[in-house]
């Protein structure tokens, strides 16, 4: 029945082709640029093949950016999941139905805030003199100055806390809703089986929710890769290079400091390859 089967194809193919072009062209273009030595200041260029990549591996600032990115990824993903599961379980255990609705509403608000706004709000909250987040410290120490965003040891965590504030609370709502969808009988059976409240969650409910929780974690991992706006507003990669992730560094190499577009593209290509490989492996691990 060629007539019947050609109709869906007619509709689907153009869209797919457009999508493919939209996603493939920039990617291919980035790869091509990464093999050249283009700079923003001139139109002249030549093919340098892999020398950008070799340069990267001897660039200490790049290696630092890799390390910061890994730290950022691990800290935000782990903290988000811990906060989400902790708060979700806590709400499930102690909050009444009405209170749960109120909390859910409150916890969804941060994630609705545009990232840049959230970043500005918290940048001010972390202000050493006027910030509300540093107020307890000033109160307890009798007016000592604490500036988390300008200390290399705390800056990353201060920025990460904003990310967790946005996503951890939102995920807590999702975890609560997931817990509410579970059938009550296994939980009751566990109560009869001498399980304490925390054991019920550790051994019964959370394992039952393993698949959705892993999916949530993947969503957060992908989301954490796109932290540019948050870091840009709060620290611009500083102090020094303490919060300079790969995308921050690529951006500043490409457009701010030296205009080395090809060098930045090489970084982007490496990031893409690393991300694809890591996620494929993780996904396989989880599926197994």
């Amino acid at each position: 029945m060629p007539r019947r089967s050609s109709l869906p194809v007619t509709f689907v193919v153009p869209t797919l082709v457009i999508l493919l072009i939209l996603s493939m062209v920039p990617t291919l273009y980035a790869i091509i640029i990464a093999l050249q030595n283009r700079e923003l200041s001139s139109t002249a260029y030549s093919w340098v093949w892999f020398s950008n990549f070799f340069d990267l591996f001897s660039d200490r600032r790049f290696l630092n950016a890799v390390w910061v990115s890994v730290k950022w990824e691990v800290v935000t993903v782990v903290a988000t999941m811990v906060v989400a599961i902790g708060l979700g379980v806590l709400m499930f255990e102690v909050a009444s139905q009405r209170l749960r609705n109120v909390y859910c509403l409150l916890f969804i608000i941060p994630v609705l805030l545009p990232r840049v706004s959230a970043a500005f709000v918290w940048k001010f909250a972390y202000h050493p003199l006027y910030g509300i987040a540093t107020y307890p410290y000033r109160l307890l120490t009798g007016g000592l100055i604490f500036d988390p965003l300008s200390k290399p040891s705390t800056a990353l965590f201060a920025v990460a806390s904003v990310d967790v504030w946005q996503w951890g609370l939102f995920f807590a709502v999702i975890v609560l809703k997931l817990l509410e969808t579970l059938p009550p009988q296994p939980i009751e059976a566990a109560r009869l089986d001498h399980a304490k409240r925390w054991q019920i969650h550790a051994y019964v409910t959370l394992p039952m929710l393993k698949a959705p929780l892993v999916s949530l974690m993947f969503v957060k991992m992908i989301e954490s890769l796109r932290s540019f706006d948050l870091i840009y507003v709060m620290t611009r990669g500083g102090p020094g290079v303490a919060t300079e992730t790969l995308d921050m560094y690529a951006f500043s190499q490409g457009f701010i400091e030296s205009g080395k577009v090809s060098y930045a593209s090489a970084m982007a290509v490496l990031m893409m390859i690393a991300t694809v490989i890591t996620f494929t492996m993780l996904w396989k691990r989880v599926q197994a």
């Binding site: 296994p186 009751e188 109560r191 009869l192 001498h194």
Partner: protein, 361 residues
């Protein structure tokens, strides 16, 4: 000593009272079945015994100890749920062992006990599987194993067989009966299936709207129902009820209603001349009448349901539908006139207003 005592137990959800001033005492080793129509509070009562539902008023004690405020785990009970409630992510072995592990029983002993219980219930081949890889009957056996391994003082079952098909249900019913014979553990069993109640129970507790209508052995409940509700609820096909007026006649009594007048001796019943009563006769107690018999109900056969050995004949008598269960070979043809008689020993009489039995105790 009684295994379970409920005294003046109430349960309310907000403004709606589900259980009202319930008093019940269950002996050790007894098999008690809670029976009643849907929504009468059977599960609620059972869950209150288990500690899964808090008690609004009154006192529940298990093994001589008041358990109102004890955690479910500390009440010495084990429960089997209608939908098995297995832990889906654990193997069968882990499912059965879960309770022992939480009590910190040493691993070698857990292993020994799980294997022993699995052997009793024929679960050996499945210990490494997940619940989703078992049939419904096997899953319910795992649920029973999980309850058994705790060696509880009391077993609680909430409609454990209602998710199974008819054949498997019979099989599992026999298995539960056998298990109770060998373990002798006090058991409370909730069902709305009469056959299960009749075959398993030492005593049946018949509930309606959170109130106990009658407590008694299956034979008592069937043979001497305390009121119209119990009489109508127990027994398939359902008992026939005929509203009658009672009158004195000579040494006996005459019951007039449904187009006939029936003479009975009336000994054994509290009857009032001129009073109104409800006569109850079970369909199997109606026999094909011969000439000269007394106590005759007659009409035309409207409906004949063939059951195999028997046939259920429904006929109209004085505007009232009456059913008789007769041997298939005596089955009349449709629309033929039929006449049935009964023996006085088999009838039930109830007060027309209160519904209570008029039988002398």
């Amino acid at each position: 000593m009684s295994a379970i005592v409920c005294s003046h137990v109430d349960k309310a959800y907000g403004a709606t009272t589900v259980i009202r001033d319930l008093n019940l005492s269950i002996e050790e080793h007894e098999f008690v079945v809670f029976l009643g129509p849907s929504g009468c509070g059977k599960s609620t009562l059972l869950r209150m015994l288990a500690g899964l539902e808090d008690i609004s008023g009154g006192e529940v004690s298990i093994g001589g100890k008041v358990v109102n405020d004890l955690d479910p785990g500390d009440r010495g009970i084990a429960m089997v749920f209608q939908n098995y409630a297995l832990y889906p992510h654990m193997t069968i072995f882990d499912n059965i062992a879960f309770g022992l592990r939480r009590q910190k029983v040493p691993a070698p002993e857990i292993d020994k006990r799980v294997r022993a219980v699995a052997a009793t219930l024929g679960l050996d081949p499945y210990l490494g599987r997940k619940p989703a890889e078992l049939s419904g009957g096997q899953q319910q056996r795992v649920a029973i194993a999980r309850a058994m391994i705790k060696t509880p003082k009391v077993f609680l079952f909430d409609e454990p067989l209602s998710n199974l098909d008819a054949k498997l249900r019979n099989h599992m019913r026999v298995e539960i009966a056998r298990l109770h014979q060998s373990l002798k553990t006090t058991t409370v069993y909730v069902t709305h299936d009469q056959l299960e109640a009749m075959t398993l129970a030492d005593r049946i507790v018949l509930l309606k709207d959170g109130v106990i209508e009658q407590i008694g052995s299956p034979a008592e409940i069937y043979g001497r129902p305390a009121n119209i509700f119990v009489a109508g609820f127990i027994g398939t096909p359902n008992m026939n009820f005929i509203e009658v007026t009672v009158a004195r006649s000579g040494n006996g009594w005459t019951l007039t209603g449904a187009g006939t007048a029936l003479s009975i001796d009336g000994a054994g019943f509290h009857l009032q001349p001129g009073g109104r009563a409800v006569l109850g006769i079970r369909p199997p107690d109606l026999k094909t009448a011969r000439d000269g018999d007394a106590g005759i109900l007659q009409g035309t056969a409207d409906l004949i349901e063939f059951h195999g050995n028997d046939a259920l004949v429904t006929f109209g008598s004085g505007g009232k539908e009456i059913s008789a269960l007769v041997p298939a070979r005596e089955c009349p043809v449709l629309h033929a006139p039929v006449r049935y008689m009964f023996e006085e020993a088999n009838i039930h009489l109830f007060d027309a207003t209160s519904g209570a039995s008029l039988r002398q105790q």
